[in-house]
Symmetry: D2
Subunit: 266 residues, 4 copies
C-alpha cells in the first residue's frame, strides 16, 4: 500500500522472539504504576487474554510533585518479574537514574526512558550500553528532529534497538492532557527505520478517546500501541481517568485488529 522506500531499512527489534516493527501489531498494556502484586497479576492476566504481548507498569515513577506517589522501586520490579513468569508476557518499565540501569535491566525486557528524561543525555548513554531494547518516549515539547537525535545517543552508544513512542505533545489546547501527534508517526516511518509505537492513554488523558486514537494510530501506520489498563481504574494510584477496564481493552483490541487488516488487504 505504501511506496517502497529504498533508502530506509526497517529495523526490527526482537524481544524474546517478539518482533517489533516486523509487521505484527505489538500491544503493550498494563497499569500506570505497579501498586501491589494482586492488582498487577490481575491486570497482566487480563491484557494477556485480550492479546497484548508486553506488560507495562512503573516501579520508578517520574511525578511532577515530590508529594505524589513515587513508585515501589525494587519491590515493584520484583512484582513485575513474577507477573512475567506467571503470564509469559515481556516487561517494559521505566528507568530514571543512571545508577539504576542495571537493576531495572535485570527485570525489564524493554527499558523505558520517559518524556521528562528524553534529553537526559547521561541516561541515554547508559541505556545505550545495555543489550536491552529501549522504548524512548517523545519529550513534551520535543521536535521530531530532537527525538531522533536523542535516539542517536542510544544508537551511538552501541544499542541498535530503539523503539520510538509518540505520547502526545504539549500545545495551547487544554481540553485534553496532551495533543497526540499522529502525523509524527507517519513522518517517522519516512525518516527512520526505527519502530514507532503510540501511547493514546497519555496522549489524550481521557478514557473515551483511547479506543478511537488507537484505531487512528494503527491507520497512520504505527507498529504498536501502549495502553494503560487497570482492573479498577477508580482506585488506581495514578492515571485512573485514562485507564481502560479489561473489557474496554478487549473491545479496543478487536477494533485495532480490524483496522490493521483493512490496511493490508490488497
Amino acid at each position: 500500500m505504501e511506496a517502497i522506500k529504498t533508502e530506509i531499512v526497517q529495523h526490527v527489534v526482537n524481544v524474546n522472539g517478539l518482533q517489533i516493527g516486523g509487521g505484527e501489531l505489538v500491544v503493550m498494556a498494563g497499569p500506570c504504576a505497579v501498586e501491589d502484586e494482586e492488582t498487577l497479576l490481575a491486570a497482566a492476566g487480563a491484557v494477556k487474554e485480550a492479546g497484548a504481548q508486553v506488560l507495562r507498569g512503573g516501579a520508578y515513577k517520574p511525578r511532577t510533585s515530590p508529594k505524589a506517589f513515587q513508585g515501589l522501586g525494587q519491590a515493584g520490579l520484583e512484582m513485575l518479574a513474577k507477573a512475567a513468569k506467571a503470564t509469559g508476557l515481556a516487561i517494559v518499565t521505566e528507568v530514571m537514574d543512571t545508577r539504576n540501569v542495571d537493576e531495572v535491566a535485570a527485570v525489564a525486557d524493554i527499558l523505558q526512558v520517559g518524556s521528562r528524561n528524553m534529553q537526559n543525555t547521561a541516561l541515554l548513554k547508559e541505556v545505550g550500553k545495555t543489550n536491552k531494547p529501549v522504548l524512548l518516549k517523545r519529550g513534551m515539547s520535543s521536535t521530531v528532529e530532537e527525538w531522533l537525535l536523542a535516539a542517536e545517543y542510544i544508537l551511538d552508544a552501541g544499542n541498535p534497538d530503539v523503539i520510538l513512542c509518540e505520547r502526545g505533545i504539549r500545545t495551547f489546547e487544554t481540553a485534553l492532557r496532551n495533543t497526540l501527534d499522529l502525523s509524527a508517526v507517519s513522518l517517522l516511518k519516512e525518516l527512520s527505520g526505527l519502530p514507532v509505537v503510540v501511547d493514546p492513554s497519555h496522549g489524550t488523558g481521557k478514557r473515551s478517546l483511547v479506543a478511537p486514537m488507537s484505531r487512528a494510530a494503527v491507520a497512520a501506520g504505527a507498529d504498536g500501541l501502549v495502553i494503560e489498563v487497570h482492573p479498577n481504574p477508580e482506585k488506581a494510584s495514578c492515571d485512573g481517568p485514562q485507564s481502560l477496564t479489561p473489557p474496554e481493552f478487549a473491545g479496543l483490541m478487536g477494533q485495532v485488529r480490524r483496522v490493521r487488516e483493512a490496511l493490508t488487504v490488497n
Copy 2:
C-alpha cells in the same frame, strides 16, 4: 461500535441530497485555488470519478502576503459554477468579506469560513443569516471550546448547518506545516452533534502524509475529508507540495473506504 450518546443528537447537514454527518463518508476535493477553467474542469472530473461528492476550490484566497495570488474572485466563482454543472458535484468555496457573502452564496453549496477568519465575528454572523451550510475551519491556535463558540455565532444567527473542519493547529513542531489534531475529532463527536471533517492537506502540508492521515482521520471517526487535488501539482498557484495527483487521490479513496468498512463491521 461506539456507545450510544443519549445527550448528543447528531445533526445531519443536507447538501442537495448529500448527507453530511449521516453515516456516509463525504469527501470534498479539488485544487487549492481556482486558476483557470481547463484545470478546474480536469480536477473536478478526476475527483468525481474517484468518488468525491464535493468540489473544493478557492476564488477568494486568504494569503499571508499581499504579494501572493489573491484568487480570481467573481471570475473564479463562475468557473466553479460551470464545473458544478459539468460534473454534478456540490461546491464548497471560501468567503472572506461580509460584503461578498451573497455573491459567494449564489454559487456555493457550502460556504467556507477559513482558519484566519474563525473569530471574524462579523463574518460568522453574516453567514449565519444565509440558508447555506457553513464549513467552519478551526483557527490556527483555537481551542476546541473557542471553535464551538465560533460555531455558536452561526447557529445563533439562525443557521443550524455548521460543519466543523479540523485542519491542523500551530505548535512548536516545525517538521510539518501544522500539527493535525485528530483527538479533537473524537472529542467533538462527544461534545457536539455537528458533523466533523478533516483536512489532512493543510493539516500536514506534505503530500506523502495525506493518505495516512486520511486513513487515521476516518479511523478516529471523522464524517468526511477535505483533500487538495491538482492535475499538475508542480504548476499549482498555491499548495502544490501538499496536493495529490488524481491517481494518488484515487488510491487514497480506496484506502479510506476500507478503513471505514472496518469500523462498521460487527
Copy 3:
C-alpha cells in the same frame, strides 16, 4: 544607547500633532469597552490627568462567545466622540467589519484591528484605504513575519501609518491569559521602522503584572503602551481582572517615566 541602524528608517506616525515612534512614550489608556457616558468620561478624565495621550475603548467588541456583551456600536462611538471633545485626548477604537470602516473612522483618530482579525485581509485592505493610522494587534499565534506581512496589506493599500501592538501570544502556559513576548518588540525595532507599542493588560490578564510588564516593555524599547483603566474594575463589563484603577495607573505612569529616562541618560 542603541547602535544606529542605517537600513531601517523609523517611521513616525502623527496623530493630530502627537508623534508615535518619535521618541516620546505614548500611552493609550481607558476601559475595555465603552459602557456608558458617565463611566467613559470618568475614565477619560483620569487617564488624561495621569498623562495618557490617547483614550482607548471598544464600541464594537470581538468576543469569544455570542452570548457575551458585543459592545454599544454606534452609540459607543458617539460617547467616544464626546470624551475626546471633553478631554482633548485622541481616540483609538476597534473596527471589525469592512462595512463599518467609514463609520468608525469618522470618530477614531486611530483605527484598531484586533488580534482575531489580524489576518482578515479584506479588513486590512479596507483600513489601508483610509487616511487614519492603524493600530495592528498581533494575532494570538502570529509569527513576527506574519505580523509584518499583515502590516504590509495596509501599507500596500496606501496607508503608511501602521502601529504594531504586541499583546501576548498563545503558548502552553496557563498561569496567565497570554505570554507577553517582549523580545518581539526589540526584534521589530531591528526589522522594521514601524512604531511598536505593548498591551500588558491583555498580555498578562492580571492587574498586578501590568505595572512590571509596562516597565519591562519600556526597557525593551517600546514606543508606547496600551493600558486598560476603569474607574471601578469590579463592575467592568469585560476585562475587569486586568484593569487598573486610576490611582494604580497614575503610579504606573511614574514608574515607566523613570525607566524611560534611565534609557536616555548618557
Copy 4:
C-alpha cells in the same frame, strides 16, 4: 515601589557572602562551555572587571546531538577552579548525572540543573542533598507550576537554596531561539520567595537582543542575570551567535544598573 507581600518571605541565597535575592542585582557571566584555560581566564577577567559576581561556564554540556561537543568534564572543572582562584568570582556550572554531583559540587559554588533536566527527579533529589545552592533552569515547555514543583523536589530533600532561572520557553515563534517569558519573573515574585534570575542569551539566541532583554528583565523585577560572554564569539564552541564580547557586556552592565536605579528611586 512594590506592594508589601505579607505572605511571601523573600529567601536570600548566600554564596560566599554574595546575597542573591537580597536587593543587589547579581550577574553571572562567562562562556557557554569551558574550552581551554586561556579563553576561560580571559572571559573571567573581563566579566569580573565589568562587574559580574559569578562566572558561568559548562564542563558537562547537554547537547541535542551526540556528535556535538559534550564538554571537557573533569578537566573543565579544574579550569573553573583556577579561574575562581584567579578572579575571586564564584562559580556556577551544570551537573547532569546523579553520579557526578559530588565531583561538580567540589568546584561549583552554585550547581546548575539545566532545562533538559528540570524534571529529572533523580537529579533534583540528589542536588537537594548537597549544601550548595542550585540554579534551576526552567524546562522548555514547563509551566510555572511545574517549575515550582521541581524546585520543591530540591527543597524537600533538605536544600533551601534554589534560584529559579527563566531562560525562554518553546512556542510556535521561530524568529528567535526561544520566547523569553518575563511575565513569569513577576509572577514568581508573587508566588514564591525564591530568587529569580533571567538568561536572555538562551532566551533570545541573538546577540543584539541580549541588552534590551536584560534591561527588560531588570525592569520586571529579576534578582539577577545570566549572560554568555566570550572573548571571541566567532570561535566559541557553542552559542557564539548569542554571546557578547567583553565590551558589549560592559555596555550592558551600565544599562542594567541605570534601570535598576530607576526602580529604587522614591
